[in-house]
């Protein structure tokens, strides 16, 4: 199947893509911030100076710069830095879990919608339906039925992200299906699963990766919102959202406790968004205007 093996998309220019990203200082900055955040989150149990849930009422409201509490403490004397590190851990956990959920369901549906005309209408009704329940309403419903937890928050966010995945995978499938090498494979009598799995999916990988990189920060913000409202991670487990919700009560007295977690969320989301943007530009310079 000589024709069908002509590679297009991600496979052709992987090294070119890497080179383009390494030439972009903004992308490097994003990657570095991301790497630091991941290290802090993954190794939080070893790196954090204090137990995130340990209260020290005698050390409450220590301002940033206090010896032993670089970013200060909150109303219960808990170390803000340690809590942020564990909060990052939770954020990344939810972000990855949510995006994985949306990909596992969205990618096959998107492939089918783009490939089989008969199913297209059915799937677009499904996306309409999901879109009719904004993610917060989904989370509200899920929290009402199954209780509030990290897992349920991730599922609600993931479900809400499915339509976006379907839309992108569907249009990419439509595009690839019309290309010569896929058409050739179909003419040569390749079965649908073969064409989808061997030709379309690998070539759609780049758009799926880009979609995932911009969906993760959205999911992280979503987790923060849910936890802030009390619909996500439950206290005393540290989460950037619950930290903000706690800090709201004493924000005038200890503004750092409200400022720092927000800055952490923003930097994390910003790093993901920058990396996602750069990745998209590097994969398709012509689409960089999008």
């Amino acid at each position: 199947m000589a024709v069908a093996d002509i590679p297009v998309g991600l496979r052709t220019n992987r090294s070119k893509v890497v080179r383009r990203i390494l030439r972009n200082p903004l992308a490097i900055t994003g990657l570095v911030v991301l790497a630091i955040a991941v290290v802090l989150a993954v190794f939080a149990p070893w790196l954090a100076p204090h137990e995130p849930t340990q209260t020290h009422l005698d050390q409450a409201f220590a301002p940033p710069g206090t010896v032993g509490h670089l970013l200060g403490t909150d109303d219960l004397g808990r170390d803000v830095l340690s809590r942020i590190m564990f909060g990052l851990r939770a954020s990344l956990h939810v972000g990855l879990l949510a995006v994985a959920t949306s990909l596992v369901i969205g990618v096959p549906l998107g492939l089918m919608a783009g490939y089989f005309r008969a199913i297209d209408a059915l799937i677009s009704r499904f996306t309409d339906l999901v879109l009719a329940f904004p993610f917060l309403i989904l989370a509200v419903g899920l929290a009402a039925i199954r209780g509030a937890s990290l897992g349920n928050a991730a599922i609600a966010i993931g479900i809400a992200q499915i339509p976006g995945v379907i839309r992108i995978v569907r249009s990419e499938t439509l595009r690839l299906k019309s290309l010569d090498f896929v058409a050739a494979a179909i003419v040569e009598g390749a079965g649908d699963p073969w064409v989808l799995g061997r030709h379309i999916l690998p070539n759609a990988a780049s758009v799926i990766i880009v979609q995932a990189t911009v969906a993760i920060p959205a999911a992280i913000l979503g987790e923060a919102v849910l936890s802030f409202l009390g619909l996500g991670i439950q206290p005393p487990a540290p989460s950037l959202g619950t930290m903000l919700s706690d800090a709201q009560q004493f924000a005038s007295r200890a503004p750092w406790a409200a400022v720092m977690p927000g800055v952490a969320i923003m930097l994390l989301a910003l790093a993901f968004n920058i990396v996602g943007d750069s990745l998209r530009d590097a994969l398709d310079p012509k689409a960089s205007r999008r």
Binding site: F133, I137, I145, A258, M266, N273, D277, R289, R290
Partner: protein, 317 residues
């Protein structure tokens, strides 16, 4: 045009029916006896029987569904198990706050987003584009509830520029009403503004490279007419659909914003209902949101076809 409208209408009806089924099934998916859940803490056999009676929980699912739909259609969404108030009137009281907040936020976001998007597209490769892009990236990455907290902390509490919380109905004092809503609307609008900006920029760049722009320039039109009329009019068609798609995010955002600024709106109703396990209210809130989303998207689609003559007027060619 007519066919397009009918098919769009039909799609919306199907989605609405599906959404109703999902909400109905959701309540039945509550752990344990729905009557227990619906009754909350008031669990004497008498009220349980009353609830079973009211919701027809002993009937078949089909009958129950019909009851649910026909009651909902008549505006009867049940009563709150906390206050005993009719859910319909609770929602009617809360909705205007949220609607006003959302309209203001969309207004703010459109002005900022379209303006920045046009600037970024026209000033391509210059500092202005860089600044607009950076602003959009920040807008997408900032948790807007945190931005709200910061605004209250520094603009309201420290500087006293705006009231930190509360709401005054528009018709009792319009100035005071707007004064209370400016900050929440700005905060709610930031994320949407970022999305609109990016979309405007990309569709403006598409439009600016189109052949008809070359024609407009060859006609000797001023840059103002070329950009502000020929390019923008085409880009806005795309932007309007995007605003429609962002409605879900806007509703979610409104819930949080209301919570932060203590606005007595739909969002507050939702969150309170969840914490009080006020199931009739949750059920109604979810149903109303889904319906609103579907109806507004239908309206956006109609608007879309009004601005785009290719949809409005069928071609003879």
């Amino acid at each position: 045009m007519k066919r397009y409208l009918l098919s769009r209408l039909w799609q919306s009806v199907v989605t609405l029916i599906l959404a109703t089924i999902v909400v109905f099934a959701g309540v039945r998916a509550l752990p344990g006896d729905p009557a227990l859940a619906l009754a909350g803490e008031d669990r004497d056999p008498e009220s349980l029987r009353a609830i079973r009676e009211q919701y027809g929980l002993d009937d078949s699912l089909l009958v129950q569904f019909w009851q649910f739909v026909s009651h909902a259609a008549r505006g009867d969404l049940g009563r709150s198990i906390r206050t005993g108030e009719p859910v319909g009137s609770m929602i009617a009281g809360a909705l205007p706050v949220t609607i006003e907040l959302s309209i203001l936020a969309i207004l703010v976001a459109s002005v900022i987003g379209v303006g920045a998007g046009v600037v970024a597209a026209v000033r391509r490769g210059r500092p202005a584009e860089w600044a607009a892009n950076a602003l959009a990236l920040l807008g997408l990455s900032v948790p807007n509830f945190w931005l709200g907290l910061m605004a209250i902390l520094y603009l309201s509490v420290a500087l006293g520029l705006f009231p930190a919380s509360g709401f005054v109905p528009f018709f009792s004092n319009p100035i005071d009403n707007l004064h209370h809503l400016v900050l929440p609307a700005l905060i709610l609008g930031t994320g949407l503004a970022a999305v609109i900006m990016r979309q405007t920029r990309s569709s403006m760049l598409d439009a600016l490279s189109a052949d008809y722009i070359r024609t407009a320039e060859a006609k000797g039109l001023s840059p103002r007419a070329v950009i502000g009329k020929h390019a923008l009019r085409n880009s806005l068609i795309v932007v309007v659909t995007i605003v429609g798609l962002q409605l879900g995010a806007l509703i979610s955002g409104a819930v949080v914003t209301e919570r932060i600024f203590a606005l007595p709106g739909f969002g507050k109703l939702t969150v309170d209902a969840v914490f009080q396990r006020d199931y009739p209210v949750i059920q109604a809130v979810v149903l109303v949101t889904a319906t609103a989303y579907i109806v507004i998207n239908l309206l956006v689609d109609l608007l879309y076809s009004v601005i785009d003559p290719r949809i409005r007027v069928r071609g003879d060619a």
